[in-house]
């Protein structure tokens, strides 16, 4: 009996001692934190005082994780605008130039994190003008947060139609939505002399690829092309060979695939290994991204991709006075690589704000939102004009084909740089 009582007391004593110790350490930590933070707080106060003539935008981007390749292109596009507008002195609003600054956070290619970071941008950083994240999957939840706080978000990389079909008032997109992705390729196919009759559709189980291929299925049926195979594979897959073996058995004339770059490189490699030989081979994403052709070499030949933009398009903006090809040239000088459509599409989102802010000044988010809704401008990325859902109805998509390792615009005919190679010759 005595022993247990003694033990109990000893235990209590031990616990109390620990609690006291923790308290002591905690109060020490608090005082240190206070000492360390004081200069920081002073600094931030002084910087907000100075920040009067700065316009701040905020964006959560996939800077690491599986969409880091694309996320970096988006950031470079945003930064391109920031660099050049600041070189000109800033955005002239009501006679006074305002420098531009973007607050970035890395969402690690995770949609949930993107939504959380957008909330942080609004609540903690007091950002009143939002830019979009990368990918439809991230834009979908992120735009809900923007809508909740009634802060406008001009996004450049969420092409899923579902983003715009929720009756939201505060989300706008510079790009063509996903339902228009497969249209170019399939219309082009239907217009050929010996049109393809069957099609197989493969996609990653993610928002954008799924909607793109669903759109492709509908469009193909409308054009009388027979859908012989349609399947999705899980994100992060490293082996598609057995799926492609099934595709080979179905022997489709057209093979369309939707997914992000990593999977598309894998898909092209394994399609060749498995002996899949479609007459027409299109990917929703990849061929124009840096590194794609290098990784695949001659296996990338003749692949098709619907594109939002290419450097030879006859568009010119009135802020910088640059055409699409000027943009490509200057961008390459700044960042060391030739841009695909991602950077101009991102920079165009800032041009939308540029015009809206010039019109109404640094007004509250609601007023700026209304100015954005009235946008009707021409940029190096193409015309931008929003419908009531926030989708850009000003421009349409083109199609490129990789020929000798270079993307060549083959559709529509009025801006084509070369002729489509059809059917694909094997072996090449």
């Amino acid at each position: 009996m005595d022993d247990t009582v003694f033990e109990k007391r000893a235990k209590e004593e031990l616990v109390m001692r620990n609690v006291r110790k923790v308290r002591r350490i905690r109060s020490k930590i608090y005082s240190w934190v206070c000492i360390c933070c004081a200069p920081l707080i002073l600094l931030s106060i002084s910087s907000t005082l100075k920040a009067e003539d700065i316009v701040r935008f905020g964006a959560s981007l996939s800077l690491t994780g599986r969409m880091a390749t694309e996320g970096r292109l988006v950031k470079d596009g945003y930064d391109f605008y920031v660099k050049h507008i600041n070189q000109k002195g800033g955005i002239p609003i009501k006679g006074k130039p305002y420098k531009v600054e973007i607050v970035y956070y890395d969402d690690e290619s995770d949609p949930k994190t993107a939504a959380r970071l957008v909330e942080k941008l609004i609540v903690e950083d007091h950002i009143q003008y939002l830019l979009g994240p990368y990918s439809s999957s991230a834009t979908f939840p992120a735009s809900s947060v923007a809508e909740k706080y009634r802060v406008p978000m001009v996004e450049a990389h969420g092409s899923a139609t579902t983003i715009f079909e929720r009756g939201y008032q505060y989300v706008f997109a510079t790009l063509n939505t996903v339902d228009q992705y497969t249209g170019g390729i399939l219309n082009m196919a239907a217009g050929l002399k010996d049109p393809p009759k069957t099609i197989a559709l493969i996609n990653e189980n993610a928002l954008f690829p799924q909607l793109a291929m669903d759109g492709g299925e509908q469009h193909a049926k409308k054009l009388g092309i027979n859908v012989v195979y349609k399947e999705k594979y899980p994100s992060g897959t490293k082996d598609l060979s057995s799926m492609l073996a099934v595709v080979r058995e179905k022997n489709p004339d057209i093979l369309l695939a939707g997914g992000y770059t990593a999977d598309m490189i894998l898909l092209v490699k394994q399609a060749k290994e498995m002996g899949v030989k479609p007459k027409m081979f299109g990917l929703m994403l990849g061929p124009t991204l840096p590194g794609f052709v290098n990784s695949l070499g001659k296996d990338a030949e003749y692949l098709l991709e619907p594109i939002q933009w290419s450097a030879n398009m006859a568009w010119k903006d009135d802020v910088f006075g640059w055409t699409a090809s000027d943009f490509a040239r200057i961008f390459e000088k700044d960042f060391g690589y030739a841009p695909d459509y991602h950077p101009p599409q991102s920079a165009a989102a800032l041009l939308v704000y540029h015009h809206a802010l010039q019109k109404v000044g640094l007004a509250d988010p609601q007023t700026v939102r209304n100015a954005i809704a009235d946008t009707d401008i021409m940029t190096f990325y193409g015309p931008i004009k929003f419908n009531e859902k926030g989708m850009n109805i000003g421009k349409s998509m083109a199609v490129i084909q990789l020929q000798n390792g270079k993307p060549v615009v083959v559709y529509p005919e009025n801006s084509a740089q070369g002729k489509l190679v059809y059917p694909i010759p094997y072996p090449h």
């Binding site: 999705k232 490293k238 057995s242 073996a245 770059t261 490189i265 840096p290 990784s295």
Partner: protein
């Protein structure tokens, strides 16, 4: 029928590579009771070493196996000697945290050095292969399979037939007894981690020939290694081969018979079944899997 043979061959070929990717993980776990969360990142480092050597010197990717193996062995040896050995006596959470931190460190270092761009190695014979009726057997996959199985068997021989291998196994059974018998336990640990990392590096080389990779692809391999090790049995070399091939077959048949969307579901379902029916793994011996403090 063609499709059946094609899928069977695909499954076995990718299974061999899975085995090689998992074996280093299995050895480290089995010997030191250390779960190396940075294993996938080490595989990716091997892939990058192959990428750099092939693109600089223009040699065949399979010839870079010794380069990536040695480089990763040295790295692994140093990591164990100067980092992990300091916490290995403590709780398992310390080693988990340490290897997780190492994983983050490696990934971000790759992002800085190699950028986030995807890499793939395309040797001249990529896409070519034997044709047997309508069944295609690509050279690259056969090459990767042969080397993967070869390396795994070599490691198995090393563990069973050499003095050092016996010392490693002895340490895994009972580190105090081994230490009494004159084994320098911490040195053995460093060598074991080096071997595990070296195997990861060589698996990376083989992987780079078949798949595309970027700094963040590693985590998939860590996950697969987990499944394979539990399927085959902890610390067992033949178990890794069996586990790898079972996983490869399950994934490939699931993607054809059900839908490609279900392949991960099927492989993890398999994992659950094995855990319920035979927790020590198909070829696992009880002793390896016992948790020691």
């Amino acid at each position: 029928m063609t499709l059946f043979w094609q899928v069977l061959i695909n499954g076995i070929l990718s299974g061999g590579l899975y085995a090689c990717a998992a074996i280093g993980f299995s050895v480290i776990w089995g010997v030191m009771n250390l779960i190396n969360l940075a294993h996938g990142s080490m595989i990716i480092l091997g892939a990058y070493i192959t990428y750099m050597t092939t693109s600089t010197f223009g040699i065949d990717p399979f010839l870079t196996l010794p380069v990536s193996g040695c480089a990763l062995f040295i790295l692994g040896f140093l990591i164990q000697k100067y980092l992990i050995n300091h916490v290995i006596g403590g709780s398992i959470f310390m080693t988990l945290i340490l290897t997780f931190g190492l994983d983050l460190l490696l990934i971000n270092a790759y992002l800085l050095i190699f950028s986030a761009d995807l890499c793939a190695i395309t040797p001249w014979y990529a896409g070519l292969g034997w044709e047997w009726g309508n069944v295609k057997i690509p050279y690259t996959r056969v090459g990767a399979f042969v080397f993967a199985i070869g390396l795994t068997l070599l490691l198995s021989l090393f563990m069973n037939r050499t003095k050092l291998g016996n010392a490693i196994r002895a340490t895994s059974f009972d580190k105090d007894a081994a230490s009494l018998a004159g084994v320098d336990v911490f040195k053995v640990y460093a060598i074991t981690f080096g071997i595990g990392a070296g195997m990861a590096g060589m698996a990376g080389t083989l992987m780079s020939v078949i798949y595309s990779f970027s700094p963040v692809t590693g985590e998939i391999f860590t996950m697969k290694a987990f499944v394979i090790v539990v399927l085959g049995g902890l610390g067992s070399m033949p178990g890794a081969i069996v586990g790898g091939i079972i996983l490869g077959l399950a994934e490939n048949f699931a993607s054809v018979l059900l839908s490609p969307g279900y392949k991960d579901a099927v492989s993890f379902f398999l994992l659950v079944i094995i855990l319920v029916l035979r927790p020590r793994g198909i070829l696992g011996k009880r002793f390896y899997a016992e948790v020691r403090d």
